[in-house]
Amino acid sequence: MPLALGAQTEMEGAACQWMLESDTIESRNGYFQLQWQANTAECEGQTLALYQLQPGPQRLIYKGSNTTLFISGQPAGQYVYQLYSEPGTAKQAVGQQLTVQVEHYPLWTAFSYFGIGLFVFIGTLLLIGRGDRTA
């Protein structure tokens, strides 16, 4: 659900408002999808840059005219993203920041499911193996 109204960029005379589709995302598996959109169809195709502001030093994640980005393999932590338009050499922030909170499942939860899966698998293996031998 779009929550944040973005700043305006100029596109052939039309005022473009860009917004990220959410301002917070929570992920339990280290992957998430970022999406942003313009207020009018005329603004589509405009080049924007997506930066990761946190953690660590600011770095460019994506630059182009697409409006969706899939990110995966992130360790636990708080990630902050910001869209920028780059008319000329100046960098202008667009919309408000997006915060992604990555918090992985505890290992005991993961290994509990692993153990249950192993139990079902071995049980099925025994059922078929012994059944096949006696059949």
Binding site: A110, Y113, I116, I128
Partner: protein, 471 residues
């Protein structure tokens, strides 16, 4: 997203391969005489064809597109976990032998459930199987349309309609013989494509470079203690096992393979299949090293191919995915048509229907299933892809009712009926409460416990001879 190949090229490829499948399907099916020939390829499929069809059907668009997706989402365990899908094929090998021995003249997996457990369990099973088949058919049709659109710019309705129409047509013309014959060619096309993509990926980014980039940009993908991936491992194994154990796609082949063929065919196909998801999936781990833009995880494989091999790579992916989709769609169409013809039309509506009437009904039902799938695909409901994942809990809940029913006389009808319903519900709860990577696992676990307890407390004394009663 800008298309990677021109619409004209896409149309030429679609036209050429469509013609190939249709002509080949007609050629293979031209000597079909009776219902046995049409539905079960005369029950005498040889080892080479049997192995190829088992492998091709399991190398679906899921393998070519979802293996890279899982590698990108779950990392190293994503690829390995996906290759655990082969366990379903390996374990079905002895089951296929048992099925052929116990029910040499049966038609469908539904026949087994009806004769083994009676009406209630049979109807619950038909509901699960029907939902799964429809979800898989629609997800295949939608995947085809979306991928063709992304790669070539050809509109979604045209791409989706073409692939569905072609599969319906050659399945209609040749029955299971056409499905199995085209599967053989499609297997080679798919495997060559996967090997080529892997080779070219390694020429663009060595293992060391891929490793370095992953550590910097997506480190969890290399983490062997990545919690969600650890949860995913056995979930995928049990999902695959549930799909194979219950689906008429695999049962109809067990009936169609010649005597003594099923065990060797499923075992060989399972062993050969193990490296396929790893080969198909590892290319996604090159994404950080090659700085490839990924809008959606299911586009990982095609986008890697397009980026490193240009137009040639896109054409290759187009052909490989078209073949993979066709190899699964045709099998599912034929098997679902058999299930509906035998278990619903014949057993529920026309018990006295002659073989000729059933042969004709099977053809009409294939067309009808094609039309229903096409209409649902046309709606382009985003959630239908999720329905397939949701069905993991349903199909996994059939693992123990089927396996125990094949080997234990004491398994009882009420127990398996409760096991399928409770397992499905528990799996669905887990899907929403925890994540898609726990649904099948939970469903299989709950179902297994109920089958074990009910067989122990209220043992039945089933006579195997009853499985041969009305066939």
């Amino acid at each position: 997203m800008t298309p990677f190949i021109s619409t004209e090229t896409a149309l030429i490829i679609l036209g050429a391969f469509s013609l190939l499948w249709i002509v080949f399907g007609w050629y293979l099916g031209r000597q079909n005489k009776d219902l046995d020939d049409y539905m079960l390829a005369g029950r005498k499929v040889g080892l080479a064809m049997a192995t190829a069809t088992a492998m091709a059907t399991w190398v679906t668009s899921n393998t070519t597109m979802v293996a890279p997706q899982f590698a990108l989402q779950m990392g190293v365990w994503g690829m390995v976990g996906y290759s655990f899908g082969s366990v379903g094929l390996l374990l079905f090998a002895p089951m296929a032998r048992r099925i052929r021995t116990l029910m040499p003249h049966a038609w469908t997996s539904g026949d087994f459930m009806r004769l083994r457990y009676g009406s209630l369990a049979w109807r619950i099973f038909l509901g699960i199987s029907g939902l799964y088949a429809l979800a898989w058919l629609v997800s295949l049709g939608m995947a085809g349309g979306l991928l063709i659109e992304a790669l070539s710019g050809l509109s979604y309705p045209i791409g989706m309609s073409t692939i569905l129409a072609i599969c319906v047509l050659y399945t209609l013309l040749g029955g299971l013989k056409a499905v199995i014959g085209t599967d053989l060619i499609q297997t080679f096309v798919i495997l060559i494509g996967i090997v080529l993509l892997g080779y070219f990926t390694l020429t663009h980014a060595s293992i060391e470079i891929m490793h370095e980039a992953l550590l910097q940009k997506r480190p969890e993908l290399l983490n062997l203690l990545f919690p969600a991936a650890i949860m995913f491992l056995f979930n995928n194994l049990l999902f695959g096992m549930g799909e194979i154990f219950h689906s008429n796609v695999w049962w109809s082949r067990a009936f169609a393979f010649g005597e003594g063929i099923g065990f060797k065919a499923y075992l060989t196909a399972g062993l050969l299949w193990i490296p396929v998801p790893i080969a198909a999936g590892f290319v996604a781990l090159a994404i950080p090293a090659l700085n490839i833009y990924i809008p959606r995880p299911d586009m990982a494989g095609p986008l890697v191919a397009a980026n490193i091999m240009g137009t040639g790579g896109s054409i290759m992916v187009f052909i490989v995915v078209f073949s993979a989709l066709a190899s699964s769609l045709d099998s599912l169409l034929a098997a679902t048509s058999d299930l509906v013809t035998e278990d619903i039309y014949h057993k529920h509506m026309r018990p006295d229907a002659s073989p000729a009437t059933l042969r004709s009904a099977a053809a009409w039902i294939t067309v009808l299933i094609g039309i229903v799938t096409w209409l649902l695909c046309l709606l382009k409901m985003k959630t239908l892809g999720e329905v397939l994942l949701l069905s993991g809990s349903l199909v996994a809940s059939t693992i123990w009712p089927i396996a125990a029913g094949l080997y234990w006389q004491r398994t009882n009808s009420t127990g398996v009926s409760i096991a399928m319903i409770a397992g499905s519900l528990a799996g669905l709860y887990s899907y929403f409460a925890t994540g898609w990577y726990t649904a099948a696992l939970t469903g299989a676990f709950v179902s297994m416990l109920i089958v074990l307890i009910s067989s122990w407390l209220w043992p039945a004394d089933f006579e195997w001879q009853r499985l041969k009663e009305d066939n």
